[in-house]
Symmetry: C2
């Protein structure tokens, strides 16, 4: 038995634009718990804050790509990855404690360990 | 004075993949209020359902592109578009009642009229 739910919306963009993008999305969405407003050295993530109980963050990525990706949090990453593969997802890469996957249309998403303070909260339970 | 908040997560993908993608995301996220499981004629949208009080939907688009985009709902689309332009967004196109815009990293998002049943709910109020 394991549990999972939507944890976060990640806004990936070129690193040089990450600060401006985080400021924009913080202003646009007015998060309940606003995060830091600037990137820190050696950390690609800028927290935008909590929106509807889920995290929104900007991730600076090296390339010129930009995308929005969803993170699913779970108390059993291997079991959740297997469940999502059975539903039609594909594995891309395991990075430390999380998996990068693709949905049936090829879009990237991640399966991560619990990230939200109140997990499991309204998470689904899977047999 | 107007109000706005995050309304929806839209998962855009080629139309031929939209049904499979909607089934996948419905299984992945187990929405609180699951939507229809298949596309209807002349309707590019497939409702996945409500997750954390926000809507998740799949949109079939004609091209081979795929992306996730966010929708911001508001009771004054023109005022909200102007507010977001001042924050750094750019206008792309007005479609019937909504605006397609780009964030500072060029990613598409939309400003739409109220979509959720409980709007304004926790929406922010702007002077």
């Amino acid at each position: 038995m394991h549990r999972s739910r939507l944890a976060a919306i990640g806004i990936d963009c070129p690193t040089r634009l990450a600060d401006a993008n985080a400021r924009f999305w913080s202003g646009a969405l007015r998060p309940e718990a606003p995060g830091p407003s600037a990137m820190r050295a050696n950390d690609p993530y800028v927290t935008v804050g909590s929106v509807a109980g889920r995290e929104v963050f900007v991730q600076g990525i090296g390339s010129d790509e930009a995308r929005v990706h969803l993170d699913i949090e779970t108390d059993d990453v291997d079991a959740e990855v297997a469940r999502l593969v059975a539903l039609g997802a594909t594995r891309v890469e395991q990075i430390r404690t999380w998996w990068v996957m693709r949905d049936p249309s090829g879009q990237l998403f991640c399966v991560v360990r619990p990230q939200t303070a109140d997990f499991p909260g309204d998470a689904a339970t899977w047999p």
